[in-house]
Structures are given as structure tokens and as C-alpha cells.
Point group: C2
Chain length 339, copies 2
Amino acid sequence: MRKPTLKDVAEAAGVHSATVSRALDPGKRHEVHPDTARRVLKAAESLGYRPNPIARSLKTARSNTVGLLVPDLCNPLFPPIVRGADEVLFDRGYSALIASTDNDAAREQRLVDSLVGRQVDGLIVATAQREHPLLSRLHDEQVKMVLINRRVENLDVPAIIPDDAAGIGLAVAHLAGLGHVRIAHLAGPQDTSTGVARARAFRHAVRDAGLDDDPALVVECEYFQEASGAKALRELLDQRVPFTAVVAGNDLLAMGCYDVFAERDVDCPGEISVVGFNDIPFLDKLRPPMTTVRIPHRDLGAEAARMLLGCIDEPARRAGSVLLPVELVVRGSTAPVPD
Amino acid sequence: MRKPTLKDVAEAAGVHSATVSRALDPGKRHEVHPDTARRVLKAAESLGYRPNPIARSLKTARSNTVGLLVPDLCNPLFPPIVRGADEVLFDRGYSALIASTDNDAAREQRLVDSLVGRQVDGLIVATAQREHPLLSRLHDEQVKMVLINRRVENLDVPAIIPDDAAGIGLAVAHLAGLGHVRIAHLAGPQDTSTGVARARAFRHAVRDAGLDDDPALVVECEYFQEASGAKALRELLDQRVPFTAVVAGNDLLAMGCYDVFAERDVDCPGEISVVGFNDIPFLDKLRPPMTTVRIPHRDLGAEAARMLLGCIDEPARRAGSVLLPVELVVRGSTAPVPD
DNA sequence: GTGAAAGCGCTAACAT
DNA sequence: ATGTTAGCGCTTTCAC
């Protein structure tokens, strides 16, 4: 026995399929007589009727699906964000199609083509670069989207981002409070908004705290990845500028520092303190457990989803960006400055 | 200007839409005259035609979508599996809908309902329990699926799983080689096939190696999670049966041991060696870096996807299960038995 | 309040 | 080799 359709329900209830459609739509239920509605509901129930979303989509031109673009799902930063988004989406009858771009523009292009081809109703994008031709084009083509974590410069698209400046401020203040005066910054890639925002915030915070504002203490990392962090720290160490603490652009960069510490037998936090950013899972299991700035991963995802759904439902709405609060999580990688 | 449809292309090319449909389908291109095909392709190209998969799905009753059920996407074991699956699926024109069940049967039920409601063509399931009524029911309802990592007892569904027995054998042999004689096992939940397979393999391996086969050395953990591992190890320690090494049912259980080591000031690997299972990311960053059994995460996902697509394309095919090879990754959490 | 009819964009018999 | 026709399951005018 094949799956029952609207028509089957209509026959069972002795009404026309259009009536069933109305009775089954909570937003239109009031257009039918209560008794009819009851009859229809019962018939649907007893047949085990399940609406076919594909047929509905074809008619309504809405797929109830959104695309979610991340650099790499295996980067532990993203699963919680995805789950936060998915939860909201699911509750509203949407599904997410997740795509990992691997920071590869060509791949990203292909994935976006596929998503748009699948008629997604919108995009949540966590891969933004400051200059991002693809996203600019999508925006021109009226594709609904919201950025998450990072944004694109001069592109008027809503973004949900952590309060980078506040987070860096917290990190620097914490270190300053421990007596550190010469603090280095492993800056994230400067083609990302987070990379520059955190670097700028770092310089401001250092200056505000009256610490040494030495340009030699800021070094840029090519990627937000361990190897880049390790490389940057080695450079810093090799050029022999003194420093007793590092604020890393994110946790992965900070983990790269751990590698160098092991390699060069540096004691952390005895000789050098380190602070990460994001608070990805398992940081508490590292040796030493890493002090970091926690961002509200799930909220980022959830807010982005809410925002996107808002834009879809209400195309006129001009949504602004949202800054989510962060907090400092002090663990074992920071200690008073050695004398 | 709205999106071009098949009909628009047909008009532009001066043929009927059915011809366009054929010309555009590589599998049917030979049914049309090469010249016509060329003309159609050019028209489609110049109009920027993109087929509408929703309309196609409505007609063909295939959504080109599969559901992927995992316990929790935030568990680092799963993202690589998901990516492995997604890659294969994407190449074949499919998309994955990912759902995290949180080991909650009711939630799993809701998610599956949603996936089936969305007309997925099949399911890849990484959440199997040995007794799994929901999956049994789905199987009865002819829902195509393949299990991954774990299986259901007495359910004839293809499964892609790591060679648990070989992995445990490798772990035990490694420890035996280091001189350990009293080895404990933190067994995974016995309602999962992996939990029992590894526990059984452990007992066999211990016996084969001529080591102490003491039942008191095997303790069951309620969940495959750190807290359960920690709890189990504490019990073991408290009952004062001597042992110098632990083979954990998975990496998370082993990480739970690390917590207890810190708590009770036990030296690992000086006093107790530990081996994990799975080789989730960042194990090399722990202190000590964890020795573990590496399973081919991505291959698991990729094979599962291939298998599922095979079952979808060829419904008659009776697919068997696949056992994927594992390898031991020796790091710093194992050392010669203390004298 | 309910029914009739059209049509979303595509594919698959069937006919020519 | 190509066109005709019908219809996938639903929503939405428009009548009544």
C-alpha cells in the first residue's frame, strides 16, 4: 500500500483535497468549518498521512532548507555552531545542508552552486574573508544570507559575531594583572575580519593598560591553524625580542605554541603564558589546560539561524549585526610573570 | 527575469521540452540527434539554465538526499566520518542531512521522522544499539540504510565497521610487549556492538598472550564518555586489584582516565599505561600524548556512503558488511611496566 | 465554507 | 529522433 496523499485523505473524509490542505495548515485552519477540520484531521491521522514536502516546495518555491558554509567541519570550533543553528532550524521546520570549503575558493564556488541549485532558501556563512567576491556576488543576486563569526568588508549583510574586542581586552587585562608587561600577539590571517579585529583590539588593549606597545611583538599567521601558530612563535623566539606572554588569535594558534614549547623545552606557564580564543572542546585536557576566551558557540549558530529565518520570512527587513558576549576562562596556561 | 525552465530552453532551441530533458540527461543524450543535442546545450548554457531538483524529485520520487544519524556531531569522532561520507555523496549528486540524536531514543525518533518525511533516499546510521527497535522497524519498512561503526544484533543490514578485534589485539600485544601482565579493560557500554566486541576481543587477546585473565580487571562504562571512564577507573583503583595498564573502550574513556590520574596524582605512563581507541583529533596534544588504535574515520564514512548508494541504485543487491583495517598509534601514554 | 481547476518544473510512456 | 500527454502531490486563485 503506497503512501497516502492529500487526495486519499480527502476521499476518506468525504471532502475535496483543497479542503484537506486548508484543514491541515494551522495558518488556514480557520477557513474551514471546525467539524470538517476535525473529520479531516481524523482521517489524516488514521491513514497515517504525511505531507510530501517536495510537492509543497515545488508549489511554493520554498525548499525549507538552508545551506551552512564552514571552513572545515573537523575544526572543533564548528560542530557546536552547527548544532546551535540546526536546533533552531529544525524547530522551524527547516533543515541544514552543511558544506566544508577547506578554505578553497574553487571548492567553495562548487559547493555554493550545488546549494543554490538545490534551491536553499538561504545561506549561513562562516567562511567569510574581508574581500569575498563570491559572497558579494551572491548578495547582488539577492541570495539571503547571514554571516557568522567573520564578516566581509563593505558588504551589507547581517553578521553574528563574538565580541572580539572585549575578548582580547579580557585576555590582555588578565595578563597585565599577572604582571606581564611585554605581551606578544599571534595575529590571525589579516584577510579575515576576526584576524584584524583581534589584532587591532590587542594593540588598543596593550596601550590602554600602559604596557609595551612594541610592533615587533605582533606577528601575523597565515592560517588559523596550529602549524601557522607554531611558525609564528618560532619567528618571535628567534628574533629574540623579550616577552613573557602570548595572546593568540585563536585556540589553534595557541596550540601551535604548545608544540614549540615542547620542541624548545620552554616552560608554560612558568616562562611564557598563553591565552587562546574560542574555547574549543578539550582545551581543559591539554597540559597545561589552556586559558582562553570563550565564545558562545551554540548561540552564534542559533542567532544566525534565527536571523536568517527572519530575513526569509520578512524580506523587507533590514537586519543589523549582532555582537555576542564572551568570557575569559582562566586555566593553567597563564601565571604571574616570572621575576 | 525569473529563472529559466526547461520550457524556456525548449523555446530557445526550437524543440519540445521533452527533447531538452533528454539532451540534458547524459544517460539519455544518445536518444537525440547530436545536432539537436548541441543546439539544446547551447541554448541551456546561454540562458543559464539550472535544472530544478525539486521538480525532478517530485516526478522521480527520489530526493537525492540521505540522512546521517550520529550520536553527537560535537563528539570529535564524527566530523571526519561525516566528511568522508559527504564527499562521496556530493560526487554522486547527493546531499546529506545530518542529525545528532544525543543518545536519546525519543529525539532519535523525531529526527528520523523528520528525515523520512523529507523523503530521504536512505539512512547512514552511526547510533546503533545492539537492540534497536526503531532501526528494526525502519528495516521492516524497507527503508534503505547502512550502519556505521556499530551494528544491531540479528538485523540484516550492511554495516561498515572498524576491525575492533584486531585493534584490541594490537593494543594488548603492545602492552604485553612492554612487560605488562595485569591489564585492565574499561569496557564500553554493553548495549553497543562495539562495547561488547572490544570487551570480548580483550579477553581473548589477554588469554592468548598468557596474561592474567582476571574478571575483576574488566569494568563496564555506562556511556562512551569521559565521565564514565573516570568513574570506572576510580572503581578499579578503589577495589585495589593491582594492574599496570588500561585498554579503554575508546579515546573518551581513556581521557576520563587522565582526569583520574590528575585527581589522584598517578603518573601516566610511569605507574599506569593507557591505550585508547579511535584516534580522535588532538590526542597528540594531550599530556602524555595518547597511544591509541586508529580507525580510518573518513573511509568509514566514504564506504558507508558508497554502500548506501549501491543499495539505492540496485535494490536487489544483498550487501554484506565491511570490516576496515585499523592500526596502532604509539605515543606517550604507554611505557614499560614499572619494576 | 467548500469545490473546481490550474499549475509549480520536470520525466516517462506512448505515439508519430 | 522528436513531440504529445499525463501526472508526480501539493497550494492557490477563483467560483459557487
